[in-house]
């Protein structure tokens, strides 16, 4: 397993009381696999992702990435957020090279890679533009390039397309899959969209509850490379329906448990 979480738990201490955000999560992601964490807002999936990124510490359990414990941020990881978080005063190319600059690696060496990445997502002509002149989808494409520029082996994404409109979101899903296939990278993707999770993933882990756990681990059998047309097939819709039922069941179960 490339990413492994063993009994990962997170408790937030708030004054006198303590809030348990994540109960006990076990998960594994194989090298080169695309796995989605699917669940409603506030179910702790983003927190789990931040723990895998080494940006938050688990209060119990252990996380390893590539066999090494993940207890602080590491540069073999690329990360994307809901907002592109580009620096407005820097050009798109400079923004893509931002991780290289922070890591004090030689920028000329990575310049051509950055330009290649931009060309791959269709931003070849926008390298010298400022983020303000780009659409939301284009900015998020630039953020994909920034996450990949330092050749990470693991790409972590925290609802990266949830602020985009539905049409742009579909385009971004295709763009992301092409980049994932081309760069053969392991991916962990957080989303609250069932269709998005099914379309992108090899496996979907359904998270729910507060404190949250993983309630289902569903394999997505569709062949790769995937085209958007698979979203219209009965198999695709049946799988989405099954996932929706699983989430609903968990809600009802939680309803009877919680007083």
């Amino acid at each position: 397993m490339y990413v492994r979480c063993a009994r990962v738990g997170k408790v937030y201490a708030t004054g006198r009381s303590a809030v348990q955000a994540i109960k006990s999560v076990d998960l594994g992601v194989r090298e080169g696999e695309f796995v989605s964490l699917l669940g409603p807002s506030g179910c702790g999936k983003s927190t789990l992702l931040m723990i895998v990124a080494g940006l938050e510490t688990a209060t119990s359990g252990a996380v390893t990435v590539a066999g090494r414990p993940m207890d602080e941020p590491r540069t073999d990881i690329g990360i994307m957020f809901q907002d592109p978080t580009l620096l407005p005063w820097r050009s798109i190319l400079e923004n893509v090279l931002f991780p290289i600059r922070m890591m004090r690696r030689p920028i000329p060496t990575y310049r051509s890679r950055a330009l290649e990445l931009l060309a791959e997502v269709g931003l070849g002509d926008f390298a010298e533009h400022r983020p303000r002149h780009l659409s939301g989808g284009m900015r998020q494409r630039a953020a994909i390039c920034r996450a990949l520029v330092h050749e990470p082996r693991l790409l972590l994404m925290d609802e990266p397309f949830s602020a985009l409109d539905a049409i742009t979101r579909d385009e971004m899903n295709i763009a992301l899959l092409r980049m994932w296939e081309r760069h053969k990278i392991t991916a962990l993707f957080v989303t609250h969209s069932i269709r998005e999770a099914v379309f992108l993933s090899d496996r979907v882990l359904v998270m729910n509850g507060r404190p949250s756990t993983i309630i289902a681990d569903v394999r997505i059998p569709f062949a790769r490379p995937r085209e958007f047309a698979i979203g219209d097939t009965p198999e695709f819709n049946a799988l989405c329906g099954a996932l929706r039922d699983k989430i609903g069941e968990a809600y009802r179960a939680a309803g009877t448990e919680v007083h």
Binding site: T85, L87, P88, M102
Partner: protein, 272 residues
């Protein structure tokens, strides 16, 4: 076809009329305040003329203007040290404000140690400290500068701290995930994103710097507009005193204008 011709002429006329109305609408933000000021000055002039108030108590604007032009070399000579000292106090305040803000934002411990004391310091009426500065630093420009700096730096500090902390949480996460040091984050992300905040602080600070220097000149100086204002009033030269104030307004406008211009340029850069 004469009728069509007349119609088109009429249309042109209304177009021209509309255009002039629009020009007027666009000019009102400038015309209205200017007209108000002129009306006020005329009323002042008329009041002096008809009430027979003694010119030492209230000189008419025309007398102030006459003094301003007649003594322009003198007023200008006194405005130079005031301008330079205000500028120096302002620049020192920017350095001190930004520096302290960086320290406070970088280190939680330093923040805990410094912040309450800085706020407490600000609660002291600053004018009360002016005599102490004279005791410590003498009656030269050092004590005026220190006093002006003391008046000036706090808004700069508060604005800069707010700016340095106004950074997107995910941006900071990204920085940490790519292994950026705190200093790298400070100079590559925090300070550039704080630019609009820093300029808000600067606009307040530049006006306070002038106030600080003038008060300093009231207390210690042998030159400068503050000295000239005080000197002229003590000689019952109220018109000259007011002429010096006119110069002070010009100095203030130029300094504030320079900061506002810098803000416009930097805002363009900041927004991309």
């Amino acid at each position: 076809m004469p009728t069509a011709h007349a119609a088109s002429e009429a249309a042109l006329a209304t177009q021209a009329e509309q255009r002039s109305v629009r020009t007027f609408e666009r000019a009102t933000p400038y015309l209205l305040p200017a007209a108000t000021a002129i009306a006020f000055i005329l009323a002042w002039e008329a009041f002096c003329y008809f009430s027979g108030v003694h010119p030492v108590i209230l000189p008419p604007p025309s007398a102030v203007l006459a003094k301003f032009f007649r003594f322009f070399p003198l007023i200008f000579a006194h405005s130079v040290p005031t301008t330079l000292e205000s500028l120096a106090a302002f620049l020192l305040a920017c350095l001190l404000g930004c520096g302290l803000a960086a320290v406070v934002v970088l280190s939680r411990r330093m923040r805990e140690a410094l912040w309450p004391n800085l706020v407490f310091f600000q609660l002291i009426p600053k004018i009360a400290l002016a005599p102490l500065f004279i005791v410590w630093l003498g009656i030269g420009s050092e004590s005026r500068l220190t006093f002006a700096l003391f008046v000036t730096f706090f808004p700069m500090l508060v604005a800069t701290v707010a700016g340095l902390e106004h950074v997107d949480r995910d941006m900071l996460r990204l920085c940490r995930s790519v292994g950026a040091t705190r200093l790298q984050v400070l100079f590559s992300v925090r300070f550039p994103s704080a630019v609009p905040f820093i300029f808000s602080g600067m606009k307040i600070s530049i006006t306070l710097a002038i106030i600080g220097v003038i008060v300093g000149e009231f207390i210690t100086s042998q030159r400068g507009l503050g000295y000239l204002i005080l000197f002229a009033s003590s000689r019952q030269e109220t018109a000259l005193s007011m002429a010096a104030i006119v110069m002070l307004c010009i100095v203030g406008l130029v300094l504030y204008g320079a900061v506002a211009l810098g803000e416009r340029i930097m805002k363009k850069w900041h927004d991309g």
